[in-house]
Every structure is written in structure tokens, then in C-alpha cells.
């Protein structure tokens, strides 16, 4: 063991796993043995590094060489060049942009330079299936000290002082939630700690990566929470669609039990705490806190009105503390480094960092953690590397189907709870979907509504019927049949749904429509009045036209048209029959003279 001089870290998060990282690990183990290096180099499976767009990624220490897009066929070369001869394989090194210099070290990349990793501190650093490695980074120290040296109130005071706010989206102060649950009286003394790992926003995968890369940080924080509020049983409600996260959580819980860090008499202090997993069956509404707890109780996952709040009457009618995965992932860092250090990061009203899942039209698709108050411009242009293919950034959607969009004109908005709320968007759980000039905002609003209609539980009519009617009105507009009155009706209907829906899912469902209407009203007007889709997305409003001056009559477009809509003689300008055209764009893609345009 002492002879190990090199660690080969291979990402085994969901992203890299689906692009073959298990095969890479096999190849490394086979190759190291074949070249007699298996005593000197060790292969370590880690969680997500964040740069999912570049996967599968491999990081080799002590050099810190960061290899991207690795295939199993590259492995023999990496072993014989890098491990045996100490020569870094230049062609596989990560490079930023086509002409940029190759970057050897991870911390030098623009992607990482602007990040500050607290919740993701161990992701891509340790093996998530080894409790020893977690302890090696200082794990379970916070729990040990809390149990042996601090009172529950002291723990709560530290969380209060840190200013930590819920990372699930709403931003409720975590310390206050802990205090309320601590103060609540249970008829039989039973209280519960729950973790919301039912991450359902389209394009969001922050919680998944924490659970896959550092499950013990959540387990340790939940145990500390149990001590702070006086609970002895916890539940983690995790999506069944996250098989790797479920597996690693179970492995981690088993290891913690084996070490006596879960179970009876932890650290010989007489404190008992245990954890169980509950798998969600794929309903978006179960991420809403009252529906989540109803589901844990074994009933149909439907929300109910608050109050009573979970802090007083939650799971099985007992006081219950429910926090999100990322919130828990911050807890031990705060206790180990002190609340003041945490409060010094970020802004006054939003302390610490926030993890965002970057997706959509962005070069560096992946996971980033930034201090609160970092501007959207830094996230999109520096960390994210801008929109691919030189397209212009148009808007970013935060908060998924409950959130709103931030237009390019507000790109210098700081990312914190209050600034985002002030411009009609929200922090949300951390999904950040980037849109470029080719995205139609009416179509985007329709996409999120479609998701809500699918996921509405149907208990209350504003959400069940209202969102469907809203969708019908948007469809009317995208098909070119909308009127200006329809826009007024949409706005009225949105207000009604916001005010009368039962739970957060319904109350926030109109947000994407309202915020796109607010920032991109001219686009709606163009659809209605000019019967035109400025981004060229809505098919019914598109017209493909051949410029007779540029057309050489090569017949290529006519040959590729699946509908037979293009006519014309060889070497004479061609014409598209708008009645036959299905607007697939095949002609435009195939024209070598740029003679075809869409309007």
C-alpha cells in the first residue's frame, strides 16, 4: 500500500458512466497488471467532476493531469506513457476552445477557476463507496464533536449564524427551520429528519451528483440534524430513476452502521439514530414537501394545505425536519470551518455557494458551484464557455418549470435569492438552462407547461384544468391562430392559477409563461400580429423560400425534399410549393449556395 505513487481517478457519475467509464476502469486494471504497475498505481472510482460535456474524464495524480473524452482504447497508451515513463499524453489533455492552449492542471481551467466548492468538495476527489476515504478528508469529525462537545442548541446556533438558506429552491433559512422543529412538541416525543432527494426539475442534476459523489456528507449531516432537533429516525426520499445514487447511498448507510456511526449509542453518548431509504416512483409533485411525506407514509403522493407546517405536524403527524440534499451537504463544512467563514462567502442575504447544473445551449455542460452573488455573465461566458457554434446568448431559465427566464439584457444580475427574485425569476433548485437565438420563447413556455400538465397530481382544479387551458392558448398562438385578447386571457388565467392552486407546484406553474411574456412580449406579438416566429421554431409560422438570384438549379434540394414540394428545371431557379412543404428544413441543410432561407 505504501508504494502507491500514483492515483488514477476515473469519474463514475451518471454522465461518465453512460459514456463508458466502467469499461475504462476495467481497462486500467487490466493494463496496470499487464505492465507490472498494479502495485504502484491505484485506480479510484470517484463522483462527478462537473465537466460532464467532456466525459468520460480521468484525472491522474500526483501530476494532476486532466484527460477528457477518454476511451478504453486510450488506456494502454496512458499506462505505458504516463504511468511507466512519466510522459503526459498531450493529445488527451483538456483544452478550452479549439485554439486554446492545453491545460494540464484542473485548477487552471476557466471552468474551475471561478468556482468555490463546498457542497461538491469531495465530488471527484474521493471514492464515494469508501467510508475510510470520507473520514480521511475530515468526515464524521463534525458529528463526533457535536455529540461529545456541543448541546443541540449550540449546533442550531452555528447553523443560524452561518446564514444558510434552503437550497431546494424557496430559500427558507435553514437554522430557523431547525429551531422550529427543535422547539416543536411531539405528543409521544417522536420526531423525524427527512431528506428531499426527489430532484425532478428538467435539466437539474445537482443532488444526484452529491449523492453519487459524496453520500456520507448527507448521512453525517442528517445524523447531526437528528441530534439537534431530537429525532432518532431519518428517511431519505430519493428518486428510483437515480440507480447509482440509490446504490451508493445504501452502501454508505451500511458502512456507517458497521462503524457504529449510525445505530445505537453513537460515540458512546447514548444517542441513537438510524436512516432508511424511500424510493420515489417518478412523480414530480412528490418533491413538494407535504406530498413527499404523504408518500413516505405509504399513501398516494398528493400535497395538502399548510399550515400545519412539517416542523409542527409532518411525517406521521410528528414534527419533521425536511431539507434538500445540497442543504445537508453544506452542514458539516459549516461546523468544521465555522459559521463565520461560511457567512463571509457570497452576499449578505445569501451566504455560501450554490451548485448549478448547466444545460442547454452551452459549451461546458456540467455542474458548477459558485459563490452566491456571482453574475450570470461569469457563469455563462467564463465557466460555461458561452453558447456553442458562435450563437448569441438569448436567455437562461432558472428554477425549472417553477422559475423564470433571465434575458440577455440582465446578464449582469448577481445570482442570489434576492436579486433573482427581484427580476421575476427565482434561485430554484439549481437547474440553469441556457437558450440561444434559435430558441423561441413562446415554445419554451409551452415546453414547461407541457411538463406541468403531465406532472400535475390532479387534486386541485386550478392546476389540473388551468394549466391545460393555458397550454391550449399557447398552442393557438404558436399555430398562428392567436389574437391579442388571448394574451390578455393568458395573463388573467396565470394570476388565477397562482392565487388558487393548492401547492407550490401549481402556484408556480404560470411563472415561465409570465416571465417570458414580461421579457419577450414582442415575440408573442410577432406570433399573433405578424404571424411570424422570430426564432424560426414554430413550424406553422415558417415559410421556406428559394432566392432565384442565388439558385443555380442544381436540383439537390428537390432530390432531398421528402414531400416532393420543390419544382424546377435543371439549371433554372427552383420554387417551393408552400401547400406541400412540411417545413422540415432538409432543403436548407442541403443547399450549397445558401439560396434557401426561412422566415
Amino acid at each position: 500500500m505504501n508504494f502507491v505513487r500514483s492515483h488514477i481517478l476515473v469519474c463514475t457519475g451518471t454522465g461518465c458512466s453512460s459514456s463508458n467509464s466502467p469499461k475504462i476502469i476495467e481497462a486500467f486494471e487490466r493494463e496496470l497488471k499487464a505492465q507490472g504497475m498494479d502495485q504502484e498505481a491505484r485506480v479510484v472510482k470517484t463522483g462527478c467532476f462537473g465537466l460532464c460535456a467532456m466525459g468520460p474524464v480521468v484525472l491522474i495524480y500526483p501530476e494532476g493531469a486532466f484527460y477528457t473524452h477518454v476511451t478504453p482504447d486510450d488506456v494502454p497508451e496512458i499506462v505505458s506513457e504516463h504511468i511507466v515513463k512519466g510522459r503526459i499524453v498531450q493529445r488527451l489533455l483538456h483544452k478550452e476552445g479549439e485554439n486554446a492552449e492545453k491545460v494540464t492542471s484542473l485548477s487552471d481551467t476557466r471552468f474551475y477557476k471561478n468556482q468555490y466548492r463546498i457542497a461538491l468538495r469531495n465530488c471527484g476527489v474521493i471514492n464515494p463507496e469508501s467510508i475510510d476515504e470520507y473520514i480521511g478528508t475530515g468526515g464524521y469529525e463534525a458529528l463526533g464533536r457535536a455529540l461529545t462537545e456541543q448541546t443541540p442548541q449550540q449546533v442550531i446556533d452555528a447553523i443560524l449564524a452561518s446564514g444558510l438558506r434552503g437550497r431546494g429552491g424557496a430559500g427558507f433559512p435553514t437554522g430557523r427551520k431547525w429551531q422550529m422543529t427543535h422547539d416543536a412538541v411531539s405528543p409521544d416525543g417522536v420526531k423525524f429528519v427527512c431528506c428531499n432527494a426527489d430532484e425532478g426539475d428538467p435539466g437539474a442534476f445537482m443532488d444526484r451528483s452529491v449523492l453519487e459523489g459524496d453520500p456520507h456528507s448527507v448521512i453525517e449531516a442528517m445524523t447531526i440534524a437528528g441530534y439537534a432537533i431530537g429525532a432518532h429516525q431519518g428517511y431519505i426520499y430519493v428518486r428510483a430513476e437515480y440507480p447509482i445514487a440509490v446504490h451508493r447511498l445504501q452502501v454508505a448507510i451500511d458502512q456507517a452502521r458497521e462503524y457504529g456511526l449510525l445505530g445505537k449509542n453513537i460515540f458512546e453518548t447514548g444517542f441513537d439514530f438510524d436512516l432508511e431509504l424511500r424510493l420515489g416512483a417518478g412523480a414530480f409533485v412528490c418533491g413538494e414537501e407535504t406530498a413527499l411525506m404523504t408518500s413516505i407514509e405509504g399513501k398516494r403522493g398528493e400535497p395538502h394545505p399548510r399550515p400545519p407546517f412539517p416542523a409542527n405536524k409532518g411525517l406521521f403527524q410528528r414534527p419533521t425536519l425536511l431539507n434538500n440534499v445540497e442543504t445537508y451537504a453544506n452542514i458539516t463544512w459549516i461546523l468544521n470551518n465555522g459559521p463565520d467563514k461560511f457567512a463571509a462567502i457570497g452576499t449578505k442575504g445569501s451566504t455560501g455557494t450554490k451548485v448549478f447544473a448547466l444545460g442547454g445551449k452551452i459549451t461546458n455542460t456540467g455542474l458548477v458551484e459558485i459563490p452566491m452573488g456571482t453574475t450570470l455573465r461569469t457563469v455563462i461566458e467564463d465557466i460555461g464557455g458561452g453558447c456553442p457554434n458562435g450563437k448569441k446568448f438569448k436567455a437562461a431559465q432558472t428554477g425549472g418549470p417553477s422559475g423564470g427566464c433571465i434575458p440577455a439584457s440582465l446578464i449582469d444580475t448577481p445570482m442570489d435569492y434576492d436579486s433573482l427574485g427581484a427580476i421575476g425569476s427565482m434561485m430554484g433548485s439549481g437547474g440553469l438552462i441556457v437558450m440561444d437565438e434559435d430558441n423561441c420563447m413562446v415554445d419554451i413556455a409551452k415546453f414547461f407547461l407541457e411538463f406541468i400538465i403531465d406532472e400535475s397530481c390532479g387534486k386541485c382544479s386550478p392546476c389540473r384544468i388551468g394549466t391545460k387551458r393555458l397550454y391550449d392558448l399557447l398552442t393557438k398562438i404558436t399555430e398562428g391562430n392567436g389574437t391579442l385578447e388571448d394574451i390578455t386571457t393568458i395573463e388573467e388565467l396565470c394570476e388565477h392559477i397562482k392565487q388558487s392552486a393548492l401547492c407550490g407546484l401549481g402556484q408556480t406553474a404560470p411563472n415561465p409563461v409570465l416571465s417570458t411574456l414580461h421579457h419577450f412580449r414582442d415575440e408573442y406579438i410577432a406570433h399573433v400580429v405578424e404571424k411570424r416566429c422570430p426564432a424560426g421554431v414554430c413550424k406553422n409560422l415558417l415559410h421556406f423560400v428559394i432566392d432565384p438570384g442565388k439558385c443555380k438549379g442544381c436540383t439537390l434540394c428537390a432530390k432531398n425534399c421528402p414531400a416532393g414540394a420543390i419544382m424546377g428545371a435543371v439549371k433554372a431557379p427552383h420554387v417551393i410549393d408552400p401547400n406541400k412543404c412540411i417545413k422540415c428544413g432538409a432543403c436548407m441543410d442541403n443547399c450549397r449556395f445558401g439560396a434557401i432561407s426561412k422566415h
Binding site: H7, P62, G139
Partner: protein, 122 residues
């Protein structure tokens, strides 16, 4: 887990193993030439001896790594020691027996072992 001491014992043991994953700029680097010429001249036992000695003394901030041929094959096995802020020192014609002295005098006490260096051999 019975006590914090027990937890800290595990941590210390593990820290040594995962320390390698923090590549800090103030690490001392020992680079052993491991091209064909180096290996033929016996660089592998030298490399292992460095690893063993560093582990035995529980030295932090020392990385032992390898490199290709630097061109003076007749003087292999060669190792170069980079101490931040000091001049690079090149040791030649090494044997596993010479390694403990280099580790003790150079890596720990910052006094290069002049008689093993390339300057002394030429």
C-alpha cells in the same frame, strides 16, 4: 465508533493515502529517469527505494514520479530533485543503497549529497 480518538486514527491513516490528490506547488519532487536506459541500469529498485524511504519517514509534500530519458544514458540510473526555491539537483549512477542518504540529507535537511551528483561524476 466509540470515540473521537478512534475516528482520528482512521483519518490519519487515510490522509496519507489521499494526500497525493492535492498537487500543491510547494511539493518537493523526486523525478526518476525511467526510460529504457534507466530501467536497464536498475532505475526500478531506485524508484522503489525512494517510495519506501519517503513512506517510512512519513514525509508529506514529497512526490516521487518518473520521467523519460534526459540524454546522459551512461550515467543512469538518474534522479532529479526539485526543491521549490532551490536549484535542481541531479543525482547519477544511483543504487537503492544510496537513496536513504539522499532522503535524509537532502529531502529532510536540505543539504544535497554532493558526492552523488552529476558534478562529482564528471
Amino acid at each position: 465508533m466509540k470515540s473521537l480518538e478512534e475516528l482520528r486514527a482512521i483519518r490519519e491513516k487515510m490522509q496519507k493515502q489521499i494526500d497525493i490528490r492535492e498537487n500543491s506547488a510547494d511539493d518537493i519532487r523526486v523525478v526518476v529517469g525511467m526510460a529504457t536506459c534507466g530501467i536497464a541500469a536498475g532505475a526500478r529498485p531506485v524508484l522503489t527505494a525512494f517510495l519506501e524511504e519517503v513512506a517510512k519517514r512519513e514525509l508529506k509534500n514529497v512526490t516521487v514520479t518518473q520521467t523519460g530519458c534526459i540524454g546522459v544514458c551512461r550515467l543512469e540510473p538518474i534522479a532529479e530533485v526539485y526543491v521549490p526555491g532551490e536549484e535542481k539537483v541531479t543525482y547519477v549512477k544511483l543504487t537503492p543503497e544510496k537513496v536513504p542518504r539522499i532522503v535524509a540529507e537532502h529531502l529532510v535537511n536540505h543539504n544535497p549529497v554532493t558526492e552523488y551528483t552529476i558534478g562529482a561524476a564528471e
